[in-house]
């Protein structure tokens, strides 16, 4: 056979109107994108003691995990230009070195499967408690990129595997629009093209 053997058509379907989802919040709460992504169970712990009590890790390992989660929070946490904006979504916030505001980490994820001990990343993602009143996400725990993992207060959650992977660094953008000018100049030539810079 010279063609693709099988395509899961359900995964190729695009529901009307949902093709390009705009993220609803500054933080970017992701809608549940794919129904059948691989999932795994994680513990969410709020402190080193909690970590020792509810996981198989010992105190030294938990201490190291906690420090790693704090460093991840510093690097990847949602950042706001004002204290007010941050507090309106997450309640408790602190100022970062770069003059931005970010929420305090509520806890961090620890993979609950023993075989995940071998993995050198994805272990200690920080999570935050969303607390904007009247929001659909009120009292939900989410990762730095806005993936909701569940209602606050449980000890273990089943999450998409992507939630356990490291999140991108969040920085302060100082300018935008440095790419795209050549395409824009060429399209103003106006030769009836459909747009698009592929070929």
């Amino acid at each position: 056979m010279k063609r693709t053997r099988h395509i899961n058509l359900d995964r190729m379907r695009k529901a009307a109107g949902s093709r390009f989802i705009l993220r609803p919040l500054a933080l970017g709460v992701a809608a549940a994108l794919v129904g059948c992504a691989p999932r795994e169970e994680v513990k969410v712990v709020s402190s080193v003691d909690d970590c020792v009590d509810s996981t198989r890790m010992d105190e030294q390992q938990c201490e190291a995990a906690y420090k790693k989660a704090l460093a991840e929070a510093e690097r990847t946490g949602p950042k706001y230009r004002s204290e007010h904006l941050c507090e309106s979504e997450f309640g408790n916030c602190r100022e970062t070195g770069g003059g931005m505001w970010m929420p305090l980490m509520t806890g961090f994820m620890v993979a609950s499967m023993l075989d995940d001990r071998d993995r050198h990343y994805g272990y200690y993602n920080p999570v935050y408690r969303y607390s904007k009143p009247h929001s659909n996400y009120y009292n939900r725990l989410m990762t730095a990129d806005g993936d909701v993992i569940g209602r606050y207060g449980k000890t273990s959650y089943t999450v998409d595997r992507s939630s356990t992977r490291p999140k991108p660094t969040v920085s302060r953008t100082v300018s935008r629009g440095g790419f795209g000018s050549v395409a824009s100049a060429k399209s103003s030539w106006g030769g009836g093209r459909s747009g698009g810079w592929g070929g």
Binding site: K2, F20, T173, R176, G178, F179, G180, G199
Partner: protein, 388 residues
């Protein structure tokens, strides 16, 4: 190779909606046309398209190796000197590639002749990898095509597998996809690649090219201020080199798809270089740089192509001193190359071009475009094919 009329699938427009294929009709003209299909034999596909595709790709890589090693050639390929290190480093590091498309003139007999290599930003990917695959499946299901009908099209399978490999080679990074605003076709192509990447369990984000920002350290950011560390861009390298953020390329830690060395392959200067390195290869057309035209005297007619161009723009035919422009466009300021005229085969009134796809270095499928004129452009119709 035959052009065979076939009934359209009843209600295929609704099916297109169901699967998010929005650009099957552009400016009131059909772009996707399933009133006919092209029929190939397995031998035609394997001997005349698949095998030469893999071979030409290897020849193209040989050209890249020569060009990066030679300042004079880097100049001929119009790579800005400030980006030589960027391009060279990506080649020396073996930065992995994702996909490309070779365009061939082929009539069913004799060797396919290479027109050009779309190695940086090829489109019509969704139509090929998914939509024409579905067309075949539907037509076999309704017995409009025989049960054993096949298609040269393992594109989607190979893309998903390639993304898995790329994730392994690029661990721990989120892949940002980007294209320009206001182009439904490009957005559709990128959406399809995102679908394939998600199928391979990659973490994906999307940002428009125009929305890319930078932080104080020169790292690129998306609209949520996340630092971009791995990016697929459906946007030509030769544009990026010349734009405001071009100066940060190579100074920030980003893995690129396609990798920067593809700037050498998606460049029409590739054509005379191939002819120099592999003269008289059956799948190549004689091609020359502007300052080598004295060696092109034996050819009655030459096609003049801009070194940088997209979708058949700014093409003309030169016969002796006579120049006939076949298409306008905004390209040409970086100079031209000349290729011996070899017209597309005609099926009825249709001039037909074959796109032969590669995922990394493996031939992966075929697409056909038809036009009423000799030049295939962005509005040329897309027709499916079948191996029977």
């Amino acid at each position: 190779m035959l052009r065979i009329p076939i009934g359209e699938r009843p209600g295929w427009q609704a099916r297109a909606r169901e699967f998010g294929f929005g650009f099957h009709t552009m400016y009131g003209e059909p772009y996707w046309d399933e009133s006919a299909y092209y029929q190939f034999s397995l031998e035609q596909v394997e001997r005349d398209i698949e095998d030469p595709t893999g071979e030409i790709h290897q020849m193209c890589l040989e050209v890249v190796a020569r060009v990066v090693a030679d300042d004079e050639l880097m100049r001929r390929f119009r790579i800005p000197e400030s980006h030589w290190d960027f391009v060279r480093t990506s080649w020396e590091n073996g930065d992995p590639s994702l996909y490309s498309r070779l365009d061939f003139a082929y009539s069913g007999k004799g060797p396919a002749k290479l027109y050009e290599n779309n190695a940086d930003t090829p489109t019509s990917l969704y139509e090929t990898g998914f939509w024409q695959w579905l067309w075949l499946q539907d037509n076999v299901d309704r017995r409009a095509l025989p049960l054993q009908a096949d298609q040269f099209n393992s594109l989607q399978e190979k893309l998903v597998n390639r993304f898995r490999d790329l994730q392994f080679l690029t661990p721990g990074r989120v892949l940002h996809f980007a294209c320009c605003k206001d182009t439904e076709e490009d957005r559709g192509t990128v959406q399809y690649l995102e679908d394939c990447a998600r199928e391979a369990e990659l973490d994906c984000q999307f940002v428009y090219i125009e929305d890319i920002g930078r932080d104080a350290e020169g790292r690129f950011t998306d609209l949520d201020d996340r630092v971009i560390t791995w990016m697929f861009k459906l946007y030509p390298w030769e544009f990026m080199f010349r734009e405001a953020y071009g100066e940060y390329l190579g100074r920030n830690n980003i893995r690129w798809l396609e990798p920067p060395w593809k700037a050498i392959l998606s460049n029409k200067a590739l054509l005379p270089m191939l002819w120099k390195l592999f003269p008289d290869h059956p799948n190549l057309l004689p091609a020359f740089f502007e300052d080598e035209l004295d060696r092109a005297g034996a050819f009655e007619a030459l096609v003049k192509k801009p070194i940088f161009s997209r979708e058949g723009a700014n093409i003309s035919i030169v016969r002796g001193g006579d120049i006939q422009s076949l298409s306008d466009g905004p390209y040409g300021e970086e100079g031209f190359v000349y290729q011996a005229l070899h017209a597309l085969p005609q099926f009825g009134r249709n001039h037909t071009l074959i796109g032969s796809w590669l995922v990394d270095d493996e031939a992966a499928g075929m697409s056909l475009r038809e036009d009423d004129s000799m030049i295939t452009q962005d509005l040329s119709r897309y027709l499916p094919h079948a191996i029977v």
